[in-house]
């Protein structure tokens, strides 16, 4: 009996050892699998982050490749001529660039002061319970798709301007010596002024919400100190809040400018698609994005398509610079506040 018993003890001991080693193996396997899935997940996220960089790189490479033919054919002259003739295949980007710059300038001229004043109202004057609803309403203005601005601009706003503001401007300011030429010609309704005004409405929410955010980030101590020495509300905003928030406000304005430069559909509806550089703001013109939207699908021939892509490249480079400056400015104020 004894030997068997002893053997069985040994057996049991051996068995336990086997079980333990099996367990260790499975545990190691599970751990390996976990380590593998852990590493896979980590690499996937890293790859996705690189993917975002590749996206931008891809956009730049694709645009350069597409526009190579046009840039080789016309050289620097592409930027400085305003001919745009699909029949003779002579293309120059001056008219669209001019239209883009002028409409965006009109937009900023209106949106910046109005946006700042709304931010002033929202941060200093508005009763607390009204702040959120008004803020949301202004941001909804940013949420409305641009095609809606376009259809509204074409059917409602342009005819309205044609009947009221434009004849008025032609009659009064049109005869003035220096700025007169800006407001001459027949009131078409559509044109650079109308496009600029609609862009102003579209850009307004961006300027407002960023200015409001940076105004709110101004330390209360500074404002209280200014009130303490007897400043009026306006003086506090003008001489304390605005200088403190300047960098952020400039960032917001540049961000809005980036939007205005690249905006497509709203402008396409009301700009009139005329490839010419005219002094009058009431004249139909075109912008880079409107030209591409209007003509790309109908472009026949490689040179025509390539010229349109070259326009896209110019637009991308301009907005890239503007947006990069905007982000840099906003980063600076974030660092100071944070």
């Amino acid at each position: 009996m004894e030997p068997t018993q002893r053997r069985s003890v040994v057996d049991v001991a051996l068995q336990e050892g086997v079980i333990a080693s099996v367990e260790a193996v499975t545990r190691a396997k599970v751990l390996d699998r976990l380590r593998l899935s852990d590493a896979t997940f980590r690499h996937m996220t890293r790859a996705a982050a690189f993917g975002v960089l590749l996206l931008l790189g891809g956009v730049i490479v694709a645009l350069i490749e597409g526009s190579l033919l046009a840039l080789r054919t016309f050289g620097v002259g592409f930027l400085t001529t305003d001919r745009w003739n699909p029949v003779t295949e002579k293309f120059g980007a001056l008219a669209p660039i001019y239209g883009t710059v002028v409409t965006s300038f009109i937009a900023m001229l209106i949106a910046v002061p109005v946006g700042l004043m709304i931010a002033f109202f929202l941060t200093e004057l508005c009763p607390q319970w009204l702040r959120r609803p008004i803020g949301i309403a202004i941001e909804l203005l940013a949420g409305i798709p641009s095609i809606i601005y376009g259809i509204w601009g074409l059917f409602i706003f342009a005819p309205f301007l044609q009947g009221t503001l434009q004849p008025f401007l032609i009659k009064t300011v049109g005869a003035a010596p220096v700025i007169g030429p800006l407001f001459t010609g027949p009131p078409y309704g559509i044109g650079m002024l109308t496009a600029g005004l609609i862009l102003a409405i579209m850009v307004l929410p961006f300027v407002t919400s960023i200015s409001r955010d940076v105004f709110e980030a101004v330390p209360a101590v500074l404002k209280e100190a200014a009130y303490g020495v007897g400043c009026t509300t306006w003086e506090v905003v003008r001489y304390v809040v605005l200088p403190y928030a300047r960098v952020g406000v400039i960032g917001g304005v540049m961000l809005g400018l980036g939007r205005a430069l690249g905006e497509t559909m709203a402008v396409t509806f009301v700009i009139g698609n005329a490839h010419k550089v005219s002094a009058s703001l009431l004249a139909p013109s075109t912008t880079i994005s409107a030209t591409i939207a209007n003509e790309f699908t109908e472009a026949v021939g490689d040179l025509y398509t390539s010229s349109l892509i070259a326009l896209g490249l110019i637009l991308f480079v301009i907005t890239f610079i503007v947006l990069a400056v905007a982000r840099y400015m906003l980063l600076r104020i974030e660092r100071r506040i944070g």
């Binding site: 996937m44 949420g143 991308f316």
Partner: protein, 285 residues
């Protein structure tokens, strides 16, 4: 003498203050006025055309009645495709930036580039997809349209994912690690759950953004007069149909364009209000 000068100065400061206050109020009314005017115009011109036929019939040839069924379905399909492609990439990239490489050089570069992509002109995205998809494939397709919209979705999702994951308290991650959870599990099981409301908001905002996008679809998905769910063929979408119909000389096309515009606006506003209330409700514990 000095007293009078001081009163004059005081008066002028007070006057200036009053003028500034009135101007700021006027500016606010001016801003809100546009919203009211645009919404009113949409309801006025679009509401009359709103009927069952709009949702059950195809786009008509000029001069006859019809609906917007094929562009509505097309828009839905393109949006779903764009979200299906863009959301995973965006969430993964945002995860890397917030979890693995919070202080990396790569993260700050990606953040900068992403912010630029976020406001890059959408028509340029259309040109990009045309160059890399439509031209090599030789034809316009719904697939290309979906990818173009995905390019717009990605930066929005990256941004909100990163922001929301950064808000998740570190103690949660430490607790997960202390009970032996691997990093990936801690992220997917703990952090994602904590940041869920914010991340869903990001996707909703992205959907709101792309459902009105026209420019990137013009030369990728193009347009289709007929019923088609083939992703390899040109596909109709609401914004492009509105663009085409509004610029046409036919009154019934124009009125359909207004109705379509009303539908899109209501959808977009509903989406952004939902997204906002999600954020608001998650902020209050």
């Amino acid at each position: 003498m000095i007293g009078r000068r001081l009163t004059a100065l005081y008066d002028s400061r007070r006057r200036r203050n009053a003028i500034a206050k009135v101007l700021s109020l006027a500016a606010t009314l001016f801003g809100l006025g546009w919203l009211v005017l645009i919404l009113f115009a949409l309801l006025w011109h679009g509401f009359g055309g709103l009927s069952l036929a709009v949702f059950t019939e195809m786009t008509p040839p000029p001069g006859s009645s019809g609906g917007l069924l094929n562009p509505i379905i097309g828009s839905l399909m393109l949006t779903i495709l764009a979200v299906a492609i863009g959301t995973p990439i965006g969430i993964l990239a945002g995860t890397y930036m917030a979890e693995y490489g919070r202080h990396d050089r790569l993260t700050s570069v990606v953040r900068f580039i992403n912010d630029i992509l976020l406001s890059a002109p959408s028509i340029v995205v259309g040109l990009f997809i045309y160059e890399v998809m439509v031209a090599p494939m030789g034809h316009f397709s719904g697939l290309a349209g979906g990818v173009a919209l995905a390019v717009i979705v990605i930066p929005v999702v990256v941004r909100t994912t990163e922001d929301m994951l950064t808000l998740v308290p570190n103690s949660l991650r430490e607790a997960a690690t202390s009970i032996g959870l691997p990093r990936s599990m801690a992220i997917t099981r703990i952090c994602y759950r904590a940041a869920r409301a914010g991340m869903v908001t990001g996707v909703l905002l992205a959907v709101a953004r792309i459902s009105g996008e026209t420019a990137p679809l013009l030369f990728t998905a193009l347009n289709n007069q007929f019923w088609s769910t083939n992703l390899n063929a040109p596909m109709a979408s609401l914004p492009v149909v509105i663009f085409q119909f509004a610029l046409s000389p036919y009154p019934d096309w124009q009125s359909l364009a207004w109705t379509g515009a009303l539908i899109i606006t209501l959808a977009v506003l509903a989406l952004s209000v939902t997204a906002r209330s999600l954020v608001a409700s998650s902020k209050q514990p």
